[in-house]
């Protein structure tokens, strides 16, 4: 019989297996990284087989995500990889109950006993090999090192694993806080396990004898351990097969027995003859020829800063520090802006160490010849550096970048900065920043992506980027989040695109992402006339050229594009020292020599949020606290009655449960405090208490509560408030309530300011999803009647029916609803009244106000992550959409205005238009499809009337650093605007 040949082409590796079916023996197996050269790699593997076993007859089959195209075009048969695995499992492990397979980009679970089922991750799921690679890059270690580190972990931090972009936002603060790498590594593996167990198994338990397959699970001990521990499997039940990495290719070879045999030479020539398909869309080359490139280089060289020799120069100097999330930049300039010293480095570990090190170096270089007149710091680490090194000024990043850009073009009207992790763009009007756009979690096609990808190709970033400069047919890779781009790259590779074309395509993707997704420009003309580009990513000529081509005009890229933040800070120091006068407070040479600090992380005990905080104690006894969400965490007193309606609403709504149940004891009803209940709690608490029930509220929202319900989440792209609901339900079930009451409501209360008064589909029908996906819920303990709060008669009838068991009379129900609606009205009136008080107080104190406009459930501190408190600490009074909208006019808008909660947003926007001391910040939950409509409309209303628009996207990740930059930039812009108006503040 002919030999069996299985070829598994995964997203990163090629696996080939040869089986002799007569002897039932695996003759050969191999596992090679293909570095995107799929066809070449397969060919070289096949030729090895040819050398070893000669040219006999083979029955061949291909499997794997990247093998599909190859199979189609070579005419070799194909089998889906999970199916291939299944074939091999049946043969070698017939007693297995389940199998978990992690590949480069896919994660799969196969349930074998108790109902065969095969599951694969969705298109937006992390928790795969690529995710692990990405995280190792972030930690700047190899995957193997990460594995070793993880085995020495003492602590596991919660990390989002749904997608690499989210995980990064969780991990970066851990790195910056100086957490142990061992713990971070273990946390990353735990995140992968959680993702597999909750996201993939979705409530179905992985038990019995479990096989673990695929490369990562074979090579990574730490990952194995995490799986075993989480699933509580002993050695007899957790099986890690010897040939796990090649398992699919073995299955594929077995499957090939049904394929027609052919001589190996013929199979090889079929693969050889596979042509590039026309499926790949390609663009124009970046440069027509070498000459065009040389001109381009010469043009950009003109915007370099001159250097001055630090070893010979005598005189004054100014220091600028940019302590970013991933990199640290330091620059020292002369008063006429020549560079004396510059430094750019990744943050491996504590950025404070790096800067202290650099400052010591600077002091030793300058001797007594050069005096540092002053310094400024910007970036994520601003507060820490300012405290530690007594830097004269701390400024917002956006202001620093603006200052720097002005130096290169005084008429600049648009600045775009693409760094490793984020994209920042600002429009400049009347020599002040007019609007700011930052990338969001899901559109972060940033520089680090190219870097990760270059690494995956086995190249350094410069080499990889240069390849793209002269690509003939750059591929179109789409413009969205990096995870999606990753699979687009894979697809292009599958279609046979060259590395050059992919490199150029990536550059163009990053540019398109920035222009169309972050800036949301409809046409390139919107950007402006005088554009300055900066950030490390623009040092890449291919990205720069793509940008110029896309917008059809030349831009300025300073030679110090990567140091602009630090340069701007130095300029700021220069300008403002002159204004302030006096000597610099900067730590002296001697102080630096003595400098020491100790850092420890702990939980703040200021309130129930129990924020993770980091306390740094300096050698001289001063303390610096970070990670806190409010002043309390920083050891400061919080005013007892802050000008913060969010805090008020959160407390007030819970008071709607009085604990008095009219002397009857009809039973215990659980109300989950999330989504619609954040507004209707008064109604239902009043109703049930009046009807003689004890009302029990679900546990307060927290990350832990989310994890508690995570295994019942059916769709992980739903918004965080919805996903949190699962935890609330679990907590109520654990509290032993008689039943949970959570109505379905297509319609919300009609507030007569929109065409219709719908709830959004998620708010309206989430009970259906909860019930369908949580085994503990049934008809008895989960009541989800369909109600319309506007139609009293039908409400009474429905409630009577649904609460039949409790034999409520119509009269009791009527009375209950009366009480409920009374409490609802009272609650709303109190919110409005408190809003009025805040406005009055703020005006008396001359404070600026912010309408933090979102949804009722955004008052949940776990959902808003304390943004209200942050605003308070920046000196703003905080209002909400529901305490102001009734004070505004009714509005007519361009979009179909048909949701109760969303209609309030438009009126809240109208409310701020004529108030110079009130601005609006819109809170948007990630995944909220309806806000895709409201945000553009609210922005248009505000911007057409000269108001600032600021949007903050929130999700399960808690990274206030970015939010703070955005809010402080907004603050700077508001101050600028008000200064222009002559400081007039009136109502």
């Amino acid at each position: 019989m002919s030999k069996l040949l299985g070829i598994d082409v995964g997203s990163t590796t090629v696996k080939v297996t040869v089986i002799d079916p007569d002897k039932d023996e695996i003759l050969y197996k191999s596992y090679e990284r293909h570095f995107a050269r799929v066809k070449e790699c397969v060919l070289s593997e096949l030729k090895k087989v040819q050398e070893l076993f000669g040219n006999g007859e083979y029955s061949a089959c291909i499997t794997g995500s990247a093998g599909l195209g190859l199979a189609q075009r070579s005419g070799i048969s194909f089998v889906q990889e999970v199916q291939a695995a299944f074939v091999a499992i049946r043969k070698y492990y017939p007693d297995a109950d389940a199998a978990v397979e992690l590949g480069g980009e896919d994660a799969k679970i196969i349930f074998i006993t108790g109902g065969t089922e095969q599951r694969m991750n969705g298109s937006c799921a992390g928790g795969t090999g690529a995710f692990i690679d990405q995280m190792a890059t972030l930690l700047d270690i190899s995957v193997n090192e990460m594995d070793e580190l993880s085995l020495r972990a003492e602590k596991v931090y919660p990390i989002a694993s749904r997608c690499g972009v989210f995980a990064k936002s969780d991990i970066q603060p851990l790195i910056n806080q100086g957490c142990r790498k061992e713990d971070i590594a273990a946390s990353i593996f735990q995140a992968v396990v959680d993702q597999t167990v909750s996201g993939l198994a979705q409530g179905r338990r992985i038990k019995g004898k479990v096989l673990f397959l695929g490369g990562p699970l074979y090579f990574l001990q730490g990952l194995r351990k995490a799986f075993k521990d989480t699933l509580q499997l002993d050695d007899a039940h957790a099986v890690f097969p010897e040939n796990a990495p090649c398992f699919m290719s073995i299955g594929c070879a077995l499957y090939a027995s049904s394929a027609k045999a052919a001589p190996l030479a013929e199979i090889i020539s079929r693969v050889e003859n596979v042509k590039e398909s026309d499926d790949v869309v390609t663009g124009d080359p970046l440069f027509a020829d070498r000459r065009e490139y040389d001109e381009f280089v010469a043009r950009h060289n003109r915007s370099d800063l001159p250097f001055e020799d630090i070893k010979t120069y005598r005189g004054d100097s100014y220091l600028g520090i940019d302590s970013g999330s991933t990199t640290t930049k330091v620059i020292l300039i002369t008063p006429d802006c020549k560079i004396l010293y510059s430094h750019y480095q990744s943050n491996n570990g504590q950025p404070l160490d790096i800067i202290v090190e650099r400052m010591k170096e600077i002091y030793s270089l300058i001797g007594d010849r050069i005096t540092i007149r002053g310094g400024a710091v910007t970036g994520y680490g601003e507060d820490l550096m300012k405290a530690a090194l007594k830097v004269d000024f701390g400024i917002v990043e956006t202001v620093a970048h603006f200052k720097a850009a002005l130096h290169f073009n005084p008429d600049v009207d648009f600045i775009i900065d693409i760094g490793g992790q984020d994209i920042k763009c600002f429009k400049v009007k009347n020599h002040a920043i007019d609007s700011i756009m930052l990338n969001e979690a899901c559109s972060s096609g940033c520089g680090s992506f190219i870097q990760t990808f270059a690494k995956a190709m086995g190249m350094d970033i410069d080499e990889f980027a240069k390849l793209g400069l002269f690509a003939k047919h750059p591929v179109e890779l789409g413009s969205r989040c990096t995870v999606f781009m990753n699979s687009a790259v894979k697809q292009a590779q599958k279609e046979g695109a060259s590395v050059e074309d992919i490199s150029a395509g990536l550059s163009s993707s990053i540019v398109k992402n920035a222009i169309y997704k972050v800036i949301r420009a409809k046409t390139p003309e919107e950007l402006g006339k005088n554009i300055v580009v900066q950030g490390g990513t623009f040092l890449n000529d291919a990205v720069l050229r793509s940008f110029e081509k896309e917008i059809g005009k030349n831009v300025i890229r300073p030679g110090i594009a990567g140091l602009m933040g630090a340069f701007g800070a130095a300029l700021y120091a220069k300008e403002n020292m002159a204004k302030r006068g006096g000597a610099s407070t900067l730590a002296t040479r001697e102080e630096l020599e003595q400098f020491s600090y100790a850092s420890r992380s702990t939980n703040c005990r200021g309130c129930t949020s129990k924020c993770n905080i980091n306390i740094i104690t300096f050698g001289d006894g001063r303390k610096f606290i970070s990670g806190n969400k409010c002043e309390r965490g920083a050891g400061q007193k919080v005013p007892t009655n802050p000008l913060d309606i969010y805090a008020y609403k959160y407390e007030r709504i819970q008071q709607c449960v009085t604990g008095k149940n009219a002397g009857m004891d009809r039973g215990k009803v659980g109300l989950p405090l999330q989504l619609v209940m954040y507004e209707q709690l008064p109604l239902w608490a009043g109703f049930f208490e009046s009807c003689g029930f004890e009302v029990v509220l679900s546990e307060k929202s927290s990350r832990q509560l989310y994890f508690k319900g995570q295994h019942t989440v059916a769709s992980d792209t739903a918004c965080y408030p919805a996903k949190l609901m699962h935890g609330h339900i679990e907590s109520l079930l654990d509290m032993g309530v008689d039943f949970i009451f959570y109505p379905c409501e297509s319609y919300n209360l009609d507030e007569h300011d929109s065409m219709n008064h719908y709830n959004c589909p998620v708010v309206a029908y989430y009970p259906e999803l909860l019930k369908a996906n949580n085994e503990r819920l049934g008809d008895d303990n989960f009541l989800m009647p369909y109600l319309d709060p506007n139609v009293r008669g039908s409400m009474v009838a429905t409630l009577k029916k649904v609460l039949k068991k409790y034999k409520l009379s119509v009269k009791e129900i009527e009375r209950g609803l009366d009480e409920g609606f009374r409490r609802l009205r009272e609650y709303h009136a109190d919110v409005v009244r408190r809003g009025e008080e805040i406005v009055f107080e703020a005006r008396r104190e001359g404070k600026q106000m912010i309408v933090l406009a979102g949804r009722p459930y955004h008052v949940d501190p776990e959902i808003n992550h304390g943004i209200d408190k942050l605003l308070n600490s920046l000196g703003f009074a905080v209002l909400s959409e529901d305490c102001v909208f009734e004070k505004a006019h009714h509005v007519k808008v361009n979009v179909l205005n048909q949701w109760t909660y969303h209609a309030r947003l438009y009126r809240a926007a109208e409310y701020v238009l004529d108030k110079p001391d009130v601005n609006l910040v819109q809170l948007v939950s990630f995944g909220c499809g309806i806000d895709a409509i409201t945000t553009d409309e609210v922005r248009a209303i505000l911007e057409n009337h000269g108001k600032l628009y600021t949007q903050i996207k929130i999700d399960e990740i808690n990274n206030l650093g970015v939010v703070k930059i955005r809010l402080r930039s907004m603050q700077a812009a508001i101050e600028e605007q008000n200064a222009e108006r002559g400081g007039a503040v009136n109502g």
Binding site: S65, A66, L68, F78, Q80, E81, V82, Q83, T116, E117, S123, Q202, G203, V281, C442, E476, G478, S479, F484, M485, Q491, Y516, K517, R520, K522, T523, A714, S715, T717, A722, C744, S746, Y747, D753, N756, C760, P761, V762, Y765, E768, A772, Y786, A888, H889, H890, V891, K892, V893, V895, L896, Q898, Y906, L913, D914, G929, I930, A932, T935, D936, I941
Partner: protein, 448 residues
């Protein structure tokens, strides 16, 4: 515009309760479709329902409208969509807008004499906002192009094709005929022994339908259905058994090849028979939702509910007759009976879930399982709100109810790659083929 608004506004801060009074108008100016434009303008419609839109186009042409169904399908379409639509807007909006802008830019149309058309249901999901989104997208480059609305909810009054009762009737019949042709074609294509013969039959049926409209005989649905059955019956078919795959989901990505990366072609190439529930079910679903609102919440007036009930009885009556004709003939599987769909829905989800495609999706999945199609692609745009609940949310329930139910939810998105989507569908197909073989073995054993 801006100046106008300033005038309307009451200057200075305002006290409590100024919510009354004239609303402040933030709307931009946009062209509407005036009746005389019927003579001058070409109306573009998106490539959504390949089987139905050709017929509807014919009907509207009879009324004097110049209609063109777009078929542009290049990457440029998606790129234009990406440029003009918010990142988080659903994929169908992006496809439709991309297709319009790409077409308007193509130079094929006189942009001063072109309008575009979109339907609105007025439901609680985002889809009814496509119209304003299109308007916003066109504003920068094609401000002169009117956007027409087709809806039955009283939206956009005076800006659309006036829906008279006779016209509505014509369209309703057209939908039945489109459904018939679609289902017959899908049951013939995988089995045709001569390539192209199913397509010829489809064309013959379409021509027959057009003639019926020409001769004002379009109401003779029994006669037309019988003749369609005859035409397709005449196509020689092989008797082998193939894997049947049902396609359900959000209405645009369910039907539109641009939206679902040519899902039907892919499934045919994989040797499957596709089972696509009819468009009339969606129409009936919308009608029933109004009746349900009355039942659940006493919302709509009794009169309104009565009117909808009459409409429902009329349409359902025709559907039942058509099903009967299919059954009498016995060659082809008829489309679902809508009352059966409703009963199926009740087993899985409440009929109160009425946003987007709502309860219709679980109903179709259950009905498919009960009529021998266990394998299902549930197509949805990435992040589709109603589909969190009515799509992915019900998979677990369905799997518990039907042992062999083999569902794959697929997200469609401008950047989700075909490889990714196809690989998941292939996994579903691998299971499907195995189940089919198992069934065939069991059947053979029984026959022995």
């Amino acid at each position: 515009m801006a100046e106008n608004q300033e005038e309307k506004k009451i200057p200075g801060g305002c006290a409590v309760g100024c919510g009354a009074g004239e609303p402040v108008d933030f709307t931009d100016e946009y062209p509407t479709f005036r009746p005389e434009m019927k003579e001058t303008h070409t109306i573009l419609i998106p490539d959504m329902l390949p089987y139905h839109f050709e017929i509807i186009k014919y009907i509207l042409a009879q009324e004097g409208y110049k209609i063109e169904v777009l078929h542009n399908d290049s990457r440029a379409v998606i790129d234009e969509g990406l440029k003009h639509v918010h990142n988080d807007t659903c994929f169908p909006a992006l496809c439709v807008i991309g297709q319009y802008i790409d077409a308007l830019k193509s130079g094929k149309y006189d942009v001063d004499r072109t309008a575009v058309l979109i339907s609105q249901t007025g439901g609680g999901c985002r889809a009814s906002n496509y119209l304003p989104l299109i308007r916003k997208a066109l504003k920068a480059e094609f401000p002169q192009v009117p956007v027409l609305s087709v809806n039955f909810s009283g939206l956009e009054k005076g800006n659309g094709i006036p829906m008279t009762l006779p016209l509505l009737l014509k369209i309703a019949y057209g939908i039945f005929y489109g459904d018939n042709i679609m289902t017959l074609y899908n049951q013939t294509l995988p089995y045709e022994t001569r390539a192209g013969s199913a397509e010829e039959a489809r064309q013959a049926c379409l021509d027959m339908v057009y003639r019926a409209y020409d001769q004002k005989k379009y109401k003779k649905y029994k006669d037309l259905t019988r003749r369609m059955l005859a035409i397709f019956k005449a196509v020689p078919r092989s008797g082998e058994e193939k894997v049947k795959v049902g396609v359900v989901g959000e209405i645009y990505v369910k039907y539109s090849p641009l939206g679902n990366s040519h899902l039907e072609d892919f499934l045919h190439a994989e040797g499957c028979e596709t089972v696509i529930p009819g468009l009339m079910d969606f129409v009936l679903y919308c009608v029933v939702n109004t009746i349900n609102d009355r039942k659940l919440y006493k919302r709509n007036s009794a009169l309104q509910a009565l009117v909808y009930r009459i409409v429902y009885r009329f349409l359902y009556g025709i559907q039942k007759q058509i099903i009967r004709l299919f059954q009498e003939d016995g060659t082809f599987e008829p489309l679902h009976d809508f009352e059966h769909l409703r009963r199926c829905a009740d087993k899985v989800i409440n009929q109160g879930v009425k946003m987007g495609e709502g309860w219709l999706i679980p109903a179709e999945m259950a009905a498919l399982a009960e009529t021998g199609t266990d394998n299902i692609v549930c197509a949805q745009p990435f992040g589709c709100l109603p589909n969190h609940i009515a799509g992915k949310g019900v998979v677990r329930t369905l799997k518990n109810m039907y042992r062999d139910e083999n569902i794959v939810p697929v997200d469609y998105d401008p950047s989700a790659t075909r490889v990714n989507q196809e690989n998941r569908i292939k996994l579903m197909l691998a299971t499907a083929r195995e189940n089919l073989q198992k069934k065939q073995r069991e059947k053979a054993r029984k026959e022995d």
